[in-house]
């Protein structure tokens, strides 16, 4: 049995709180939003991982050029 998706509606003018099922349109929008977020999250994580990898290579290059650990640490702060 498929679980019914629900939303809590809080009426700020009366304080009444009701639990109602999502409409078909709301469910479709929810699925589209979730797909968009998944894509966004993957992009963000890939960017962060690339930055981390580039940083490791950059530090190695600086070491090869003769910079000290302290100098590199100062640059990367």
């Amino acid at each position: 049995m498929t679980e019914t998706l629900t939303k809590i509606v809080v009426d700020c003018s009366t304080g009444e709180q009701t639990v109602v099922p999502l409409t078909a349109e709301e469910i479709a929008q929810r699925e589209a939003d979730a797909a968009a977020y998944a894509e966004l999250k993957a992009t963000q994580e890939a960017e962060a991982a690339q930055i981390a990898a580039d940083k490791v290579e950059a530090i190695a290059a600086l070491v090869a050029l003769g910079l000290t650990e302290a100098q590199i640490a100062a640059l990367t702060k």
């Binding site: 998706l5 939303k7 809590i8 809080v10 700020c12 929810r30 977020y37 998944a38 930055i51 981390a52």
Partner: protein, 177 residues
């Protein structure tokens, strides 16, 4: 300045896909949303997905995020305001919830609306999450409703609490009714 609780709600058994505040009073200056939230998705940081007036366009987001070993910053447009880390995912330590807040300035104005967001996740493991974000909605109508969902597509978990506050400028402050 005065700050007054408008309404608060806690997700019951089974959680909820969306929490919506409607008929928001138009007598204050700014709005503050606080979230102690968790999702059912098997992730560590999960996101809050926020829209206003049921609008699905006109949003922009700028983020800075860190998890203790990686940090990143950037911008993205969206059909909503997405606060990454706004919910503690189901893979975080049991019974731990996020600590998130969303500040909306001048929510009744006829100009675009600015958002200031922050979120932290507590997790008794190697990964936590800190997010600081700014956002905007280009709509020029007053905000009368706010929709809050789990960006990962699952439910906001039971015991998650979301509260809406009215912030009123000035020493006297208007009483929100």
């Amino acid at each position: 300045m005065t700050m007054q609780l408008i309404q608060t709600t806690t997700a019951g058994s089974g959680g909820a896909a969306t929490i919506e505040f409607t008929s928001i009073p138009q007598t204050a200056t700014d709005l503050l949303i606080t979230v102690s939230g968790r999702s059912v998705n098997a992730v560590v940081p999960d996101s809050l997905y926020i829209t206003v007036n049921s609008s699905s366009s006109g949003y922009a987001n700028q983020y800075f995020t860190g998890n203790g070993s990686l940090s990143a910053a950037g911008t993205y447009g969206s059909s909503g305001i997405i606060l990454n880390g706004g919910l503690a995912g189901g893979s975080t330590t049991s019974n731990t919830f996020s600590n998130s807040s969303i500040y909306i300035a001048n929510y009744t104005s006829s100009s675009a609306k600015a958002f200031s967001l922050e979120a932290v996740i507590e997790n008794n493991a190697t990964e936590g999450r800190l997010n600081i974000q700014s956002g905007s909605w280009s709509g020029t109508t007053a905000i009368t409703s706010i929709q809050i969902a789990c960006g990962g597509g699952g439910n906001i978990a039971q015991y998650s609490t979301i509260s809406l506050y009215a912030i009123t400028k000035g020493s006297g402050g208007a009483t929100v009714s």
